[in-house]
């Protein structure tokens, strides 16, 4: 094991407002001196800023939405219990080398303001992630939940190991447009990248969102409904945002029609079109993106399994996981990346021989324009990589079968 890391921290972010001026400072020194200096620095920042006529002021007092998302057992996991879970995954993999992690945490977000806000939420999260890989083969699996009891690391390892065993002797594939089945891991990752430019209000205001000029239009298949649902206990529930506004469920795409994006107070004020915050202000380090959907949820379909999706595809490719995505063209929702840890050919409606890692370049709306079906069951896919301070979030996604997935290059064989 490596990177066995125990972190305990408290971070205080203070915003000082002087009329239409405001400044922010942050510290983890929470004694009297540290907080006094924090106030001095935030005040200095506020006094150095020119007035901002679009500054909406601090959020008014509001009753935070009651949500689930905290579990005492998860919060109380110590090093021995964490290591035991990691060991269970390693043991379940048998002779197959496995790489990955088990992590769990308790986080608490509290907000108070001179406008009377006073809210706090305790959250827990846990993830077991396994890449099973040897020379020429690899497989992947992951489980995320706010209750550790919902995660079976051994089952995660078995899923990854079983997948890896099927990827030996991977063959190449001619670039082109293929029908495809994407497991929830791949679908969630793609949608998460698409969301940063297209599903938040800042992208809409700055015209880099695919939704710019398309709100109200049928943009994708009517089987596609996407919401941001912070209140859903199947996800990682959130009570209020980083401005203190209670979280709302927001419909982003309804039966294929672009319905809206998520907002915070700042973007709503800038829009000057009657928009109001939906409670989606993010943590300080993500503020460059504006409000983001931290609880994406894609409506499930009718398929019982990924095998049934493969039957619908008939001839195409099967994708487990994506790697290192990059946005090529935000306005058209074009994303590139590689497939990884379980790519297969689909022939005659069956998941067939393994393929090498493939480069894809896909316009996400184009992928979703013709959808054969989605699975009845969705999986919660972790979306944070634990940079900075912990703020657990993920995407609830089913597997999907779609008509157009564009392969633009061929990479190396799976495995180490």
């Amino acid at each position: 094991m490596h990177q066995p890391t125990l972190i305990e921290n408290i971070v205080v972010t203070l915003r000082v407002v002087r009329g239409k001026r405001s400044g922010v400072a942050t510290t983890n020194r929470v004694d009297g001196d540290g907080l006094a200096e924090l106030a001095e620095r935030a005040t200095s920042a506020a006094e150095s800023a020119p007035p901002d006529e679009s500054f909406p002021g601090l959020a008014p007092a509001a009753e935070p939405t009651r949500v689930e998302g905290y579990d005492e057992d998860t919060a109380g996991l110590g090093p021995d219990e964490q290591a035991r879970r990691a060991a269970a995954a390693i043991d379940a993999a048998g002779d197959m080398p496995v790489y990955g992690f088990f992590t769990s945490a308790a986080s608490e977000l509290a907000i108070a303001s001179s406008t009377g806000l006073n809210a706090e939420q305790r959250m827990t999260d846990a993830t077991a992630l396994v890449v099973a890989a040897a020379e020429g083969c690899s497989g992947y699996a992951e489980r995320t939940a706010w209750r550790v009891a919902d995660i079976d690391p051994a089952a995660v390892a078995r899923e990854a190991t079983e997948k890896a065993a099927r990827t030996t002797d991977a063959g190449e594939l001619e670039p082109g447009v293929y029908r495809a089945v994407l497991e929830p891991y791949a679908f969630a990752d793609l949608l998460d990248y698409f969301s940063h430019d297209s599903l938040g209000a800042l992208g809409l205001l700055e015209k880099r969102s695919y939704f710019s000029g398309r709100l109200g239009e049928q943009i994708v298949d009517d089987k596609i409904t996407i919401t941001d649902d912070p209140l859903d206990p199947h996800g990682l529930p959130k009570s209020f945002d980083f401005e203190g506004t209670p979280k709302q469920r927001v419909i982003l795409v309804e039966h294929g029609v672009a319905r809206g994006v998520v907002w915070d107070r700042t973007t709503a004020a800038q829009a000057s079109n009657g928009a109001t915050t939906t409670g989606h202000a993010g943590p300080v380090e993500s503020r460059d993106w504006g409000p983001l959907p931290y609880s994406l949820s894609i409506a499930t379909g009718e398929a019982e399994s990924v095998e049934e999706l493969a039957e619908l595809v008939g001839d195409g490719i099967y994708i487990t996981r994506l790697h290192y995505l990059g946005v090529v063209d935000p306005r058209e929702g074009v994303v590139t990346g590689m497939t990884r840890d379980g790519t297969f050919r689909i022939r005659g409606g069956k998941i067939a021989e393994p393929l090498v890692n493939l480069r894809f370049t896909v316009a996400v709306p184009d992928l979703l324009r013709e959808v054969y079906s989605l699975t009845k069951k969705a999986a919660l896919v972790n979306s944070q990589n634990f940079y900075g301070d912990r703020y657990p979030y993920g995407v609830l996604a089913p597997a999907i079968a779609a008509a157009r997935f564009t392969i633009t290059g061929v990479g190396s064989k799976p495995g180490i």
Partner: protein, 477 residues
């Protein structure tokens, strides 16, 4: 700081650690950013704490504590030992032997960036922001940043080193939109500008206000430019894009911890094997890459890494052949070559990992115009826009903000949406020119991600424009 580190190391060895090191880190960051004539970000952040790393029965443990008290230091040490025992695993870790180090290092600063008032920083951003105004420009952004990291490392082997590293940076971006098309231009680099280990003099030298009109004009002109045609052709990259190419396709694959698989489940592994050292053909004879933590101004410059190994340059690729890896004491011991020297941690609450320091492509000869002169038909690409590379760092696709056609040795029409793709050794094998020392400069990135939990590293690359033959531009279907 020293007493706290000593208390932590003593507590760790008393608790059974055969090796322990403790780092106290005080970090301060300041960011001012404007957008469309208003202050968008005004941020002053500080973080402090102690991180204790231990080896117990050959297993690592790490714990951090934000309290800079003897009690906090000792408790972190005991927790690290507890975690090491719990996470013992099947492998025993060994470290290369180094002489205990001592010293103090402070990066040179002419004008302390924290002594420049916030009001002056806001004023500079607003002036640059205003200078970006132009036809079809819908988003104007300017930002300046500063960071100071003060850290002391003390180990059970007797190493005691203290360092104060100051950096600052700046950048401008603008977006233009028209008829459903969206284009961006940035200066001096995309993705949070460019930074340097230096004082405010670095920001002054960037001349953001003077550069802004050109940046805005190009963003607007891109809306009317032709799309970059697909095909196999000669590509000339500007220094900014060469820097990112070095970062992604040489820097990460030569990190020896990736080679050994410890990044396998996140950023990936490497196409390189330990046995490739000294024999693998990475690129053409013109390819020379050096890892150099002693480079003045580099974001990866230091006197000692976060294991206390003294900084020294390491040739990574010489005349196209792989001659070095980026190593830690552990990975160097495992391979039986090198002494480490590339271990860096993102603050007090993360373990050090093998990271790039400053990774340079050594300059060749001539100017950008000289590189263009020998091209009958090709594409010149400038400033990164998108990047993606596979888990072994072989198959990559990069896009740039702007490009120009090259015809008969001269730049022709402007092109938009340019991308190129390739396989790492083939691509570097097609390198047939690197511009000379006068075109070579440092590009400082502050967003290099790695590790679980994630760590963000600040890295510099010295690079100059370079020419590559027979490159796939655009996508195949």
């Amino acid at each position: 700081m020293r007493d706290l580190c000593a208390a932590a190391v003593d507590a760790a060895t008393s608790a059974g650690a055969e090796y322990a090191d403790a780092r106290v880190v005080l970090k301060r960051n300041q960011l001012v950013a404007t957008k469309n004539g208003r202050v968008d970000r005004m941020m002053d952040a500080e973080s402090e704490g102690i991180g204790v790393r231990v080896l117990v029965n050959g297993a690592w443990g790490f714990a951090g504590d934000r309290r800079l008290t003897a009690e906090g230091a000792r408790e972190a040490a005991v927790r690290a030992c507890t975690f090491a025992r719990a996470a013992a695993g099947k492998h025993s870790r060994a470290l290369t032997t180094i002489e205990p180090q001592s010293g103090r290092h402070q990066s040179p600063v002419e004008r302390d960036p924290f002594a420049v008032s916030l009001a002056d920083k806001v004023d500079l951003c607003l002036r640059a922001d205003e200078a970006l105004a132009g036809t079809d420009v819908i988003v104007r952004q300017a930002m300046v940043r500063a960071q100071r990291e003060h850290k002391l490392l003390l180990s059970s082997e007797g190493t005691e080193v203290e360092q104060v590293l100051t950096e600052c940076g700046a950048g401008i971006d603008c977006a233009a939109a028209r008829n459903g098309m969206f284009q961006m231009r940035s200066y001096p680099s995309a993705h949070i500008g460019s930074s340097c280990q230096a004082g405010w003099e670095y920001v002054d030298e960037l001349r953001l206000v003077d550069e802004a009109p050109r940046v805005a004009e190009q963003a607007a002109a891109l809306l009317r430019a032709d799309p970059c045609p697909d095909g196999i052709t000669t590509v000339v990259l500007d220094g900014d894009q060469v820097a990112l190419q070095v970062h992604e396709s040489v820097g990460h694959p030569t990190e020896l911890d990736r080679v050994y698989g410890t990044e396998a489940s996140y950023a990936g592994t490497s196409f390189l094997k330990p046995g490739d050292l000294g024999s693998l053909r990475y690129g053409s004879e013109l390819m020379n890459i050096t890892a150099d933590p002693t480079t003045p101004g580099g974001l990866g410059s230091f006197a000692f890494d976060d294991e206390g190994v003294p900084a020294e340059p390491t040739p990574v690729v010489e005349a196209g052949k792989l001659t070095g890896f980026l190593t830690s004491r552990e990975t160097a011991a495992r391979m039986g070559a090198g002494t480490g020297g590339s271990m860096r941690a993102d603050g007090w609450n993360r373990m050090p990992l093998v990271r790039m320091t400053n990774l340079h492509i050594e300059p060749g000869q001539g100017t950008l115009d000289d590189l263009l002169t020998d091209v009958d038909n090709g594409i010149y690409m400038e400033t990164n826009r998108s990047w993606s590379i596979d888990d072994k760092r072989l198959n990559f696709q990069f896009g740039t903000q702007i490009a120009w056609e090259i015809k008969d040795g001269k730049l022709g029409r402007m092109l938009r949406d340019a991308t190129y793709t390739g396989i790492t050794p083939e691509f570097w094998g097609s390198l047939d020119a690197v511009a000379g020392r006068e075109a070579w400069r440092l590009y400082g990135l502050t967003n290099c991600g790695k590790g679980q939990p994630g760590q963000s590293a600040h890295v510099s690359h010295g690079a100059a424009p370079a020419r590559f033959r027979n490159v796939q531009v655009g996508v195949k279907p």
